[in-house]
Amino acid sequence: MATEFHNLHDLRQGTSLATKVFIQRDYSDGTICKFQTKFPSELESRIERALFEDTVKTLNSFYCEAEKIGGQSYLEGCLACATAYIIFLCMETQYEKVLKKISTYIQEQNEKIYGPRGLLITDPIERGMRVIEISVYEDRGSSGSSSSRSSSAASSTR
């Protein structure tokens, strides 16, 4: 994982941040976490519409799974209430499990699809679940990165 980050870090050595695009929330189904699948015009030349929509739809399905009110959430809620919510100190909630899945998915998307196109998706939880921030990088035209640059900064985050 550190090596892939190193690659993303290297990629951005020769690039500079051009702009940031913010995908807003879609409230048509109420207050559940869902993002708009409308394709922003700034990304038209950078990525295929289908790939972008696929990413957002997958994220939406993850959030839907996290917020699903069904058998498991009832069980979790009742068990937690019976223990005066002390069990939350030891147990991971359904939402937290799905958030980890989301984080892995976004990393994967960044490495495989968005990174090579000079884009970077920020996990919505780091923006208060309000927006999906996509940073657009532009090639400065410089001759790539120096391999001797230490990746300690990149690897220390995990």
Partner: protein, 395 residues
Amino acid sequence: MSAVMISKKAASRRWEKLPGKNTFCCDGRVMMARQKGVFYLTLFLIVGTCALFFAFECPYLALHLSPAIPVFAILLFLFVMAMLLRTSFSDPGVLPRALPEEATFIEMEIEAANANVPAGQRPPPRIRNVQINSQIVKLKYCYTCKIFRPPRASHCSICDNCVDRFDHHCPWVGNCVGKRNYRYFYLFTLSLSLLTIYIFAFDIVHVVLRSVDSGFVNTLKETPGTVLEVLVCFFTLWSVVGLTGFHTYLISLNQTTNEDIKGSWSGKNRVQNPYSHKNIIKNCCEVLCGPAYPSVLDRRGLMVEELPTSASLDGPTASSSSSKNSIAAAQSTKTTAPLIPNEHTPEDVKPGIAASLEKSHTSEEERMPTPLNTPCKSPTQDRGPSSPKEKVQKL
């Protein structure tokens, strides 16, 4: 002699730099409002009354009636305290303020939408209409947080934060009540009602039983705590039981106190509540048995600041200017004025905004409220070496 720049790194947690008027304890794990006096009163009343009950009534009742009485009282008391502390110490669902790029993006969208307003005329209020379950709901723009508030969110002026599914600010628990801690608040009022009724009832039983043996006046002399308890319970009963009843009504309709007070969904000409499932059981289940939402406010993430300090021997001027720089870097910059002046901007701030707009294009990093969001870093680097568990806040 030349100045030698030594970079010192000062690690601090994000809660130290968060805007808003909250107090944080236990290195960011606990989050409360600034005024905590009434919360201490609540604690004192509950703990004090229960202590008197355990001291005066319980020994007699355990002997003469059943030992289960004090045991149940202890369990109920512990539950009440757990719910109270959970409500008071947890993040109610605070929405973090928009970072400068997001704020600029939204401002640009608003400007584009207002482009066809003739010059000299006041621009329309910043409102976004969304359709939820075939009802039109208006989202208001928050000038402090620089975001369009999600539906049901509201800005608490006491805590100076936008809170998701804002119910009300409760001074008795010393915190806002919002999406994340509403169920704890409800369980607190419910269990406190039960505890109050329990103590009140057994106080009466105790006085009656003892009076049969010793007489009424002697009973009161032997257990003076009873009088205090009965007084506290009597006045508490009306307020807390009433409050529990009110919130039960709100939950069955899937409404918040804020919406009820404003009359958002009442009246013929108003929109009907689009969040209600039109079924009492479903509404209760959603509010009380829904998923446990994580906190989106990063309190415990690490921030490492580069504080350039010069170890120069040139004289006082160099060191004082560098120390000023380090203070500026270490201080959090609270962005309270919008980037584009509007009718709400105070007059004296307007000239400053134009200057700051110039500066922000050249040195973006310095203007950020969280000093470390330099664009070229990957987003996860900002959070520092935080473990996945710490990432998702528990409280």
